[in-house]
Symmetry: C2
Subunit: 879 residues, 2 copies
């Protein structure tokens, strides 16, 4: 070695392994690992990720000594292949590909056939005895290099080619002869000259340097930035660059190229799944320009190669203990593997594969759990087309990514984004998608393409995003320019509704009825594993007996947030509520509250019964009173008539209750301190319901939660009020129920004085929605004016209302937890904001030793898995 | 000693000293100190404050061993006085008085003449040879004890006495003979029997125990709690109890009792100031029932005693190095001092006394500074009646507390509070005030009493509160029941306006014109001392050249907050501002901003000139845009006409800009990130103004402040935008000005990530108004619905918008300061919320090593003194 580790920027495939993903990128590390395993891989080397960061950080300068290391490796390649880089006798051609530590398919740039120039192309023609192939390779190189390195739009080249073909009356590329390609090469070189004022670079070393730099720079192109934002990939990873000797799938019909998955990435089924094209080069498959053949078709054409593929896939899967996504090239009936990686899969496939890998003895349950992407699991529970519903199927394409999508058609990314911002559900319809469409796909609920297979860009990305996708629906003609698609006689335009079934490939006219999915067997198995392992419980937010039952079906171990205000919104109740608000004195308020008591009590009984044996946290009335009154004059008038209250009186009351910033106003415990009779009524309803349920043999574990506490005395005052009621009810009912009294921690100040508050509380439940609002000073109702821009411009990595902001809000929570436990070491701690269903936020809670997280019933399964994953990540798979 | 310190609850006056105020209370400590000095003090002992806390804490139980210690001290008293407690031969009578570590005049209870019963009263009559005195003393004792210990309203006793007098046709108490008092005593004892069903306690020891307990309990009576709230006195101090042998000022005309100040508490003039009553007991002077004689009158009546008083006052003042407030009793021409303490004084007197004590060599400047109550200093700057203004003077009373007050009459505390809550200025008019009136006085802008002297309750409390007061205006008849007062022919009722001049004693009809006071010579002297000493600078919040000039007059060393939005509200500018808001694109916004630029620039030039040599912190545009647009349909219509914009377009724009919680919405830096052209225009105006001023020879030190930063990238983005503008301006202007760029820290999250933010900031200015709003989750606009109740009910000690909440907001600030200095150790730190003018908050800032505080110009002098005091308190008077 010429240099120590710190100054080592370049690694031969022989020197790396799969553990070094951070340094070599996923592609590089796995190429190295395959070399160790004896898999046929064309030789090459990897320029480490730190080189990219150093290059970009130092104003686009290679770090010292780096270039020398690259040239050394090129020499080594020449030795191994017995070819010369830029040499005219037997020229060495290489590919230059990006490879980040985390897979970002298609986001960054690639140059193939590098090393060709006006001389070496002649040698290649001679050596291969295939001038047509050589000139085709050269024109491909010119086009790719000019696009990636020189920034010339690839359409410009395609235009030239189309023109040429039409003059000659050619229809397919295969119609062109070697001489035709030579003509094209001249035209391409002229195009470069016109557009950039330079001759196409002939020096192979210069070509290499420029290409490596272009790959470095592609780390920060807007597509890549968007992709990282969507998938929460850190900006400071950088990409590695792999330089590898070329092998050719386009040397004729004994050559080819393909992509395969070792299992079905859509269903998880254990059978080889993939596609290939004969006489084609790399990206032809992924780009979806020619529709490829199924991989099984190779068995008849090249049985030996097919057997080799079977052997390699078996070896790779048992080695990596996971379903693999493999790229291969066949050069004159010799198999080369160009890439292997864990394959992206639909959530359902992920569950099946995990279960199967455990059954097959490859993985422990803990290891299998870690392979599941918890965040994407909601797609398994996403709606499917309702069984037995009427539907007019227009055509059937490939079932590229499962699930049902119903929406209005958009033909471009721009219009998909626009319609989505207007709150519409959009289905993006394209002839084929390309990496430029990533934000449009993100904005859509489903994707439909007319062209491209199961491994096309659209299919891969949609599965990653967990969105339904039908690809290769080739009966459809998409005319993007005219904003139209046609299927036979039928023409549809933007805004027309269609439905997709990504599980069957059906494209359906109009809006189908959908129904929620049930938890299937594999999911159930994985959830049971998770529950065996997880230390942190999962509860649900549920306000009604129906929701509570649903939550229990989804495996919730209690209710973490039962909001009582929703109970007052049905007609009979809201009029009593309004009467209470309009009462001028405590006595008449109490009278009206007495009317509400039986309703509340019945609600609570229903919930306690549904949650027999599990805790139920009931939050006392939280919203400001004006939410119960109408705001518009016309509505006030209507109410004044039905309530027989003077309009002006009512109007004045509405105005009196108006607040400039209701979020920071008279609500939560503040309201109950002004009107303690509300808290007393609710405490009575809860405790009477609890006593009566207990007498029926139900195990009730109620927890009364006081919202919006910021001062210790707010809690101690209300605690006393509630305890008085409980004592009285227990005496009357001649029984006793263990009812805990605690508080939401949702005001920043509450975190800061949590040591004092904890003395008065049996539990803390972090209300991270409000806590986020106040810590950031963002009103959720108003944040739409700037937060999307903030996220776009990377002012903030993620929407803090979706994923907990660890840096700010998280720090406050830590303060609150630490202080709370200082004075009350056994205090029960949970979270009931929407973050309770987000795996990253759940991981944060786990690391603060929360007793539970609570989320919407729908997200309970995700939270159960995320909770187990956090445990396994912390304690390892063997504990 | 029988017990160690921990178990020692009772201290003889011989064993204590003035340093032990925390343990013995102010009164007890000073009584002990006087005993050490050889001042004639009746013997006695003090029950320490911790006893009160222990008593209340243990459910009203004396701590172990305490009662034995009290009995031991009673024995000691018997030895010293040669009298027996409860003995019939020569009975020892004692007083039982409260005495907290901080003076709370009249707030807690006192029992005099304790030890009298049906037997001892006979002995007292015999020994003093004054049966009338003895029975009067007994009936006083019964009344006081029954009120304080048994809780019988003292009006009940007065009713009996009045009845008796009217049957006998007596007009004054002095008309009653010994036999009359005996009759009264029987009636009083019957009253106790009727009301409480018990015989009046005859056992002296039992009387003592019950009285001590009553004093302990009076610590938590509502008057005392209110008083502590107003004066920020902690709840956990407790009160000491002083038990002292009685001396009698009511033994005849060679006896008397009085109160005096060693200097004039209203003006500070060095001359004895006080009042006395002959043949009277203790509280008769303070209660203001009989109007007392001036102290100088005593010289003629009892020259020897007067000389003794002069000698004692001289001794006490030189010993305590402060103006003293002394209570004395003369028993048969022998002087006894019952209490000495630092006297409450008006703010103006406080300044004069401080200056004089330094001149007289009693105090160092540092010591004198500590004697000034910074919080009250605003009264010196409060308005006075405008010189030469027309006024109709109704009468002239005593000038009890200086300053001018203009308001509407209220006759009861309740109506004063009610009117004040309605936003009215109230003058409380009473025949005399009593401790029950404390909250009414607090709610009023001035106090007028018909009865009572310069040391009456009204006078003392008003001076303490810094409120104008005219007392003893005896031409006025106050008929509280009828809600009327009359002066001669004139009758005034509730809501009629009067004006008071507390400096002259004038009562004036209607609303006088007032004018601000100037800083007088004494104030100026003290301010210069303060500036010599203080390490933390004081800046002002000022938005205009006029304000800046005012601020400089008040001694501000810079501007800590110049709000730029106010600059846009005059007619010409707001229409440009509105045009900008309505512009659909950046180019047209820039055009309109160009129109605003010259205005801004002129404003800044004026401010820079006024602040030549001092830093000026300019906050960029902060409020949400809708504040610049009209909200009502009629106003929008008017604007649509003048602007020639369609009503519907305008209306839609107004609705678009509407926010549910504007406080947490699109404002501050969020706005400038959406519209960076605003920040650029302002940066241009600031830098051009700075360059031009500098060329005129003015030393400009601008600081550009970005509001509402919560994310580091908000600051770094805007910093870059601004720096680009500055560079461009400096190039054009061919000069360079050192312009700092920093941020307000006003979002909780900013404190939590202050280490990151500090890397991008030259300074932090804590915006504690918004920080308090968000940390508490209180909207200042809406908090009126519950915060007053919270303060009343002691949920929170003080209004957190007036005095910084150290427990919550303070903790966040500490986090912000510590983190900020971690990454940027030289970062300049200040505060610009309203707390910048509050001494307690200033002290907090000092302890966080702030570089400056900034407050309204008016409060700058207060802040200068508070800053010096913090320094002296930390480093001692000698540094």
């Amino acid at each position: 070695m010429k240099s120590d580790i710190k100054n080592k920027f370049v690694y031969n495939f022989r020197d790396g392994n799969a553990q070094q993903k951070k340094m070599l990128g996923g592609k590089g590390a796995n190429l190295a690992e395959m070399v160790q395993l004896g898999i046929p891989v064309p030789p090459g080397f990897t320029i480490a990720t730190k080189t990219c960061l150093a290059y970009l950080g130092e104003g686009n300068q290679f770090p010292q000594n780096c270039w020398e290391q690259i040239l050394d490796e090129i020499k080594d390649l020449e030795t191994q292949t017995k070819k010369q880089f830029g040499g005219t006798k037997n020229p060495l051609l290489v590919s230059v590909r990006s490879g980040a530590p985390v897979s970002m398919p298609g986001m960054m740039d690639t140059v193939l056939n590098l090393g060709l120039n006006d001389q070496t192309v002649e040698s290649l023609a001679t050596i291969t005895d295939n001038p047509r192939f050589a000139y085709d390779a050269y024109r491909r190189f010119i086009q790719m290099f000019s696009n990636v390195v020189l920034g010339i739009d690839h359409h410009e080249f395609e235009k030239k080619l189309t023109q040429y073909k039409s003059t000659k009356n050619f229809t397919k590329d295969t119609d062109l002869s070697a001489e035709d390609w030579q003509q094209i090469i001249e035209q391409y070189k002229n195009l470069v000259k016109e557009q950039k004022g330079l001759n196409f670079p002939q020096d192979a070393v210069k070509q290499l340097k420029l290409s490596i730099e272009a790959v470095f720079k592609s780390w920060t192109n807007s597509r890549a930035v968007t992709y990282r934002r969507i998938y929460d990939i850190p900006e400071d990873m950088g990409t590695a660059v792999n330089v590898q000797a070329m092998v050719f799938g386009n040397l004729g019909d004994t050559s080819g190229t393909g992509v395969l998955f070792t299992r079905n990435p859509s269903t998880g089924e254990k059978s080889l799944f993939g596609e290939f094209l004969l006489n084609a080069q790399g990206e032809d498959v992924v780009a979806g320009i020619r529709t490829p053949q199924e991989i099984s078709g190779l068995q008849a054409l090249m049985p030996k190669v097919y057997d080799d593929i079977l052997a390699v896939t078996k070896k790779l899967e048992s080695h990596f203990k996971d379903m693999q996504d493999i790229e291969f090239t066949i050069e004159n009936e010799t198999l080369f593997i160009l890439q292997t990686r864990s394959g992206k899969r639909s959530a359902a496939a992920g569950l099946k594969i995990a279960v199967n890998l455990v059954e097959e003895g490859f993985l422990k349950k803990t290891e299998a759990l870690l392979k599941i992407e918890a965040k994407g699991l909601d797609q398994v529970l996403h709606p499917r087309i309702k069984t037995g519903s009427k539907k007019q199927t227009l055509t059937t394409g490939l079932p590229a990514s499962p699930g049902a999508a119903v929406g209005q058609i958009a033909f471009t990314s721009e219009s998909a984004e626009k319609l989505s911002k207007e709150g519409k559900s959009v289905i993006l319809v394209r002839h084929e998608t390309s990496p430029e469409d990533i934000s449009g796909m993100d904005a859509s609920v489903g994707i439909l393409t007319a062209c491209g297979g199961m491994t096309s860009h659209a299919a891969v990305v949609a599965r990653g995003m967990g969105k339904p996708c039908v690809s290769g629906a080739n009966e459809i003609t998409v005319r993007e320019a005219e904003q139209q698609l046609s299927i036979g006689e039928l023409t549809l335009g933007e805004n027309d509704f269609i439905s997709l079934d990504g599980g069957t490939g059906e494209v359906i006219l109009g809006q189908c009825e959908t129904e929620p999915s049930a938890i299937d067997e594999n999911f159930q198995t994985v959830l049971l594993w998770a529950d065996e392992i997880a230390s942190m419980r999962v509860r649900a937010n549920a306000d009604t007996p129906t929701d509570a039952t649903k939550a229990r079906e989804f495996g919730a171990k209690g209710i973490g947030l039962c909001r009582t205000e929703h109970m007052f919104f049905d007609e009979e109740r809201i009029s009593a509520m309004r009467e209470m608000i309009l009462s001028g004195d405590e006595a008449s308020r109490q009278n009206v509250l007495a009317k509400l008591l039986p309703f509340q009590k019945e609600d609570f009984k229903g919930i306690f019964k549904a949650m027999d044996g599990y805790p139920v946290t009931i939050r006392l009335l939280d919203p400001p009173l004006h939410e119960f009154l109408p705001q518009k004059d016309s509505d006030i008038e209507a109410l004044s008539a039905t309530m027989n209250v003077d309009f002006e009186v009512l109007k004045k009351q509405v105005l009196n209750l108006h607040e400039v910033n209701p979020m920071l106003g008279h609500r939560g415990c503040r309201l109950m301190i002004t009107f303690p009779e509300i808290a007393r009524m609710q405490a009575r309803a809860i405790s009477e319901a609890a006593c009566e349920c207990q007498k029926e043999g139900i195990l009730v574990l109620p927890e009364i939660m006081i919202p919006l506490v910021g001062l210790t005395k707010e809690l101690s005052f209300l605690r006393k009020e509630i305890e008085l009621v409980l004592t009285e009810v227990f005496m009357k009912q001649k029984t006793n129920v263990d009812i805990k009294i605690g508080t939401m921690i949702e005001i920043p100040r509450a975190c800061l004085v949590a040591d004092e508050i904890a003395r008065e509380a049996d539990f803390f439940s972090f209300g991270t929605n409000d806590l986020t609002q106040m810590t950031f000073g963002y009103s959720r109702d108003d944040v739409g004016k700037f937060l999307p821009e903030y996220i776009d411009k990377d002012f903030i990595e993620q929407d803090p209302f979706q994923s907990l902001d660890r840096e700010g809000v998280g720090k406050l929570i830590r303060i609150g937890v630490d202080k709370g436990r200082q004075t009350n070491k056994d205090i029960k701690i949970g979270i009931c904001g929407e973050h309770g269903g987000d795996p990253s936020s759940i991981d944060f809670c786990f690391h603060q030793d929360f007793n539970y997280v609570s989320c919407s019933p729908f997200r309970v399964p995700i939270a159960r898995i995320a909770s187990a994953q956090s445990y396994i990540r912390k304690w390892g798979p063997n504990r």
